[in-house]
Amino acid sequence: MEKSEIKGNEKNVTSGGSLLDEWLSTNEPILPEPILKFAKRALAPDFDRRIELIMKRYHSDEFDPFGFDFNFAVYVVLIAGLVYRYYFRVKTIGIEKLPQGPFILVANHSGQIPIDGAMIATGLMLDSEEPRLLRSMVEKWAATLPFINTFFSRCGQIVGKPENINLLLSRGEAVLVFPEGSKGIVKPFSRAYILQEFGMGFMRVALTHHCPVVPVAVIGAEEQYPSLANLERIAQALRMPGLPLPIQSLIPFAFFLPLPTKYRIYFGEPMTFKGNPDDDDGIIEEKVRVVRRTIQTMIQKGLEERKHIFW
């Protein structure tokens, strides 16, 4: 048996040439070469530089503790990038406001499946001055789904536990949370762009780490899967957080494809909060309400500025 080395995201980072090209030449390609070249050209002129920066930032001799695997994630970035640029034609507003160190992005959640999270993460990778890997918090239910859970963890997504966010922030990483949880994502179309109640965990973590909270408003995700209802009883029986009934499920040959709405992602001014993370819920709730109000205002402004759902 030959001695093989453990390969993870511990690719050696050396100077000279494109790291991405070097990496692609030493790893088994998942996508054909012409598609890779096309994708790289189509996404960003400095795509290689962006990936290099991410590779340098996450270079480690150990496999990522949360299971992020660059070997896998680079292909996901390429595919998500194409969807970002050409399907949803995402426009980011205010992305230059993002701070340098660790921060928590707090966004509204919508669209029945978490495409909004993927688009925010791709935006940080492709359109931010300094590309960042964004770690999204996912429902523990997602961890019980075969293939999906592995896909999420290899892309750097994490089960939403305060301990996990604490660890990520102490490592200087950027974290995305959806404090509405599954209630936000599965809400029917009649409640589109109305924020649900926010959880308070993110605020306690922000206070612990003294890290900024960046409010984010996503416009366009609500219309990708207009949901007629949330089949709550069936969802409970199947131990699912919700079971939306999108219009696509009633149209033959729609293949559950999301509608190609135009995404607009608004990044607000970073907010810093002071206080004791172990304060009573009432005190923490007041701070959470400030963030919620800010996001709701940003959503209203975004909806007013939007001329059409699809362009």
Binding site: S4, I6, P65, F66, D69, A143, P146, V159, N164
Partner: protein
């Protein structure tokens, strides 16, 4: 210091005694006769529950007991008898070699479980239930007998020349995996565990400590590095087959419970590093190398 080790003739017991006998006076109990143990280690081939054990405990006048529980049906009874002996003969120190599996592998586990996390391993898995009960009994006994200094070590996935669920899993010709799942794994080298026990004895620190080698890696990559091809099976099938075997009382062909093939059960070892000043010598690559050597020379 006089140290008494239970299950001393197990591979882990032998390893611990081989390290401790250089520093302490070591004696041990086991139901089997001992071989390959250092000459200065006294072995008593008897069940701890027997009355004769009391005379031996009195004569030994030990200072510390290291208990290595197994997962058999009588393990709880054995541990209760041992606690009684510790209380009766005023033994000052108990080190319980528990296991990180007591935390359970669950979808909502934090990525790195700390020592204060509830031990939920028994709620779904009957195989971990005895260990959970022993762990809890040890903690309860500390309240009843505060004069005894209790240390619980919870190592994760012990590898080496020992009989552990993870080693039995790797020794399978075609290990099974849960289809669509690829959890992160930590490994602990048996030598590191033995060293951690030695360090705990010397430091006299009490409390619960997680033990694991440095680094973590997905299960698929461990198997790939070992050159093992696994058979992915839908998790409900593994679970049903395992439960059926348990019900029928036949030998369970699934050494590793399905939950551990689906969800993470990794531990935070910072407390052991800070308080015990314990730094593992074997990282995950070296642990995998050890497993490779064992399965290559003995089983393939």
């Amino acid at each position: 210091m006089k140290v008494i080790i239970t299950k001393i003739c197990s591979n882990l017991g032998k390893l611990i005694s081989s390290i401790l006998h250089r520093k302490f006076e070591v004696a041990g109990f086991d139901t089997r006769a001992g071989t390959e143990l250092p000459a200065d280690v006294k072995v008593f081939a008897m069940d701890i529950r027997r009355k004769k054990t009391r005379d031996i405990f009195r004569k030994l006048n030990g200072d510390a007991v290291i208990h290595i529980p197994d997962n058999s049906d009588v393990s709880l009874e054995v541990f209760s008898a041992l606690l009684q002996l510790i209380s009766d003969y005023h033994i000052q120190r108990l080190i319980l070699v528990s296991n990180a599996s007591v935390y359970g592998a669950r979808p909502d586990n934090p990525q790195f479980i700390t020592e204060d996390h509830p031990i939920l391993g028994g709620s779904r898995l009957s195989s971990s239930r005895n260990l959970v009960e022993i762990d809890m009994l040890a903690q309860a006994s500390f309240l009843n007998n505060p004069s005894c200094n209790l240390t619980i070590l919870r190592p994760v996935n012990i590898v080496g020349y020992i009989n552990s669920p993870i080693m039995n899993f790797f020794k399978m010709k075609k290990p099974y995996t849960a289809l669509g799942f690829d959890p992160m794994f930590q490994l602990t080298h048996a030598r590191d565990l033995a060293e951690a026990i030695s360090v705990s004895l010397e430091s006299n620190a009490k409390g619960i400590f997680n033990i694991a080698g440095n680094g973590q890696i997905p299960l698929s990559k461990i198997l790939k590095n070992l050159g093992i091809k696994s058979v992915p099976i839908p998790s409900p099938l593994i679970s049903t087959a395992s439960k059926t075997m348990e019900f029928l009382g036949t030998r369970n062909s699934f050494p590793l419970p399905v939950d551990f093939l689906m969800y993470n059960c990794m531990v935070d070892t910072s407390k052991a590093k800070q308080i015990l000043n314990f730094e593992p010598r074997f990282n995950i690559s070296e642990c995998i190398e050890t497993v490779r050597e064992i399965i290559l020379w003995n089983y393939r």
